[in-house]
Symmetry: C2
Subunit: 408 residues, 2 copies
């Protein structure tokens, strides 16, 4: 099988990588596997050192702190909590909470449990626990029947691809969305539910691989700053190298891209980076029993070594170009079947005529030994591991081309 | 060190157990560690078999289904979602959702995101993600500054210990709380936020090791049934053997104790058991990328073998009796310092004069080689592993006795 979906984009360097097997068989690592600690109170002695050589070695610009978590949803939930705590401390002028704050929070009431909000984007996906789910707007099946929060939802730009051919229209569309963001921030402040944070994916993945330009993200980051909201970039799916940079937000070329960056999947552990200001003011405010899993950090440290040693980000950039060129060619060849090929690195996608055809293509590809995944209403997303070389791209394109011929 | 807290009650059979080390070094298990799958779409071929020999072999009475999750909070979040989905399907007469349901849920609005609720108890702890947190009421620091839901909160019985000496008063107190539960269910239905589920711990752990009698839980289960609410027993801390039975709810002696039982910690993987009716009606409604971690199931299967082979539940019952007797004696000896010794199996606790003394005792015990943890306002909770033998109890009691003498 050629896996171009990799367990929903969560396998960084392929299956059974010898370097990862070596981690397993190193007796020094045994304890991390069989004695899982409560990291928040009893981290292994070498844990700070292990963090420095793994997660902190790839920290986003401007961030020197990281909090590990067990999965993507918990990462975003706790990132939201960090933003709420930061925002409310600001509102209190960093004074200690009032007696009313303390007593009302115990019974879920304001002001202790305040009416503050997170602004998210239509088409976004940030997980399925109840805080995350209030910011997820990709498919009804994720949200139906689950109580939610009255939080503002902005339109995400619907751009035309290839981006460079539609710069003027796309710029207009992005301007429209940014204007709406500012309007919503003002409206929700007036409603008494101020926006503590804005959360966004660099590329909306689950929602259909929707891209926006660096200009859009720069302006959005400025809007957040102007209105005193934290800016949270969710890199759970985009992070870890698949876009050709370690973090997708690096494509924006900013020194101060975000206040919080969350991750999981290819990072093998969940967690979030944050700026110093976003550190909770007291211990045990961001806390749970496990708070991650040191055995996953051991694997991650080795994954990072492999990425560096084998120049995998360059490899991804090279493979990604070949993949996208191939998709453009197929799109020209099958204009009634394919449209909107797009991507960064190997983080590519293409739209299919309709949902039924998309699903049929995925099944036929699987029967021919290629695993693919869908996203959005009628897209296929390509999510190979970072070891997907140009010859893999050609193998994939050959099979895909055969499958398309059967569907034309 | 003698660890009587075990990573917040999450180490089942002690550190470096040879059986767990053997799991690690078995080459057949390698793939589960280095190739973590997306369990919801690509479970390993032998996963059903592995579930049968691990989690399903200890399924609570009346439950033949289990859903794994990565941690305790995710387990409860998804258990709540399962209850909401079940409840709304019932309300819809199992018809397909309306167009309004589907469109409104995408923007967090009713009826798609309905105003339904989970009834929880003051003093309860069910996790710290935003759904869980709305049902957690143990300490203000957990909840302050985080938006929440207007859900009903019932009083948990405040019983007098030892329970058997205060049966009449305790029965009155439990009746008062049950009456309040029914009142709240009616009130919240009238408010348009009907109670889809009731969540409770068999022993409120984080909230101070608060016990209630089997009679209370039986009546509560009946109230849930009478009002059409699901009954969710959160065994994240109580489950896995520490009370002398595998699940604490087994002490209630019921054939049909619950609709959902969630777990994590000593089970090494999170998850929840549920009755057939609580199975979501469609795929992908209860879903995330990892949905657990098969490598943890391998360890759990071996933990269960050890528990059976070494009769650890009997061991826990024996050690627990000795521990509780020792606590009673110390309480008689230091009536100004200690009160309300209580417990089931080794899942014991005792109240200390005040918070400062409690914390000082925990620190001094640590300096003498015994790790303890607090809970509630001024309690110490004892959470040894299941391999805590009677001689460990004596070691502990000796140290504890010395520490108490210094504080008298």
């Amino acid at each position: 099988m050629l896996d171009v979906y990799t367990q929903i984009s969560s396998i960084p360097i392929g299956y059974n990588h010898p370097s990862l097997i070596k981690v397993m068989s190193n007796p020094n690592n045994m304890s991390a596997f069989v004695n899982r600690p409560a990291l928040g109170i009893m981290p292994p002695e070498n844990f700070p050192e292990k963090l420095a050589e793994s997660l902190l070695s790839v920290a986003p610009s401007g961030m020197s702190r990281v909090q590990t978590m067990a999965c993507g949803s918990c990462s975003n939930e706790n990132a939201y909590k960090a933003m709420f705590i930061w925002y409310r401390n600001k509102e209190r002028g960093h004074n200690i909470p009032s007696d009313e704050d303390v007593s009302s929070c115990m019974i879920n009431q304001s002001p202790g449990c305040p009416d503050v909000s997170i602004l998210s984007f239509m088409g976004g996906f940030h997980g399925r626990t109840m805080g995350c789910l209030a910011t997820t707007h990709s498919k009804a099946i994720h949200k139906l029947d689950v109580p939610s929060f009255d939080w503002p939802i902005a339109p995400f730009p619907k751009l035309k691809y290839p981006l460079e051919e539609f710069t003027r229209e796309n710029a207009q569309e992005e301007a429209r969305c940014l204007e709406e963001v500012e309007d919503l921030i003002v409206q929700w402040r007036q409603k008494g539910r101020p926006v503590a944070g804005i959360v966004i994916e660099p590329i909306q993945a689950e929602g259909g691989d929707n891209h926006a330009t660096p200009d859009f993200f720069k302006k959005l980051r400025n809007i957040a700053r102007k209105h005193g909201s934290a800016f949270h970039v969710d890199e759970v799916q985009t992070g870890g190298g698949a876009t050709g940079k370690f973090w997708a937000h690096e494509h924006w070329g900013m020194d101060d891209p975000a206040d919080i960056v969350s991750f999981s999947k290819k990072m093998l552990t969940g967690g979030f980076y944050h700026k110093d200001e976003l550190q909770a003011d007291k211990a045990y405010r961001i806390f749970n029993t496990w708070m991650g899993d040191p055995s996953k950090n051991l694997f991650l440290a080795e994954v990072l070594n492999v990425i560096r040693r084998e120049n995998l980000l360059e490899e991804v950039t090279r493979s990604g170009k070949t993949l996208l060129q191939g998709l453009y060619q197929l799109q020209d060849q099958y204009p009634n079947l394919l449209s909107s090929a797009r991507g960064q690195g190997t983080f590519c996608a293409i739209d299919i005529r309709d949902d039924a055809t998309r699903n049929s293509i995925i099944l036929r590809a699987r029967d021919k030994g290629v695993l693919l995944g869908g996203c959005g209403d009628r897209s296929i997303r390509f999510r190979p591991a970072l070891v997907f070389k140009e010859y893999h791209v050609h193998m994939f394109l050959n099979v895909f081309s055969d499958v398309l011929a059967e569907h034309n």
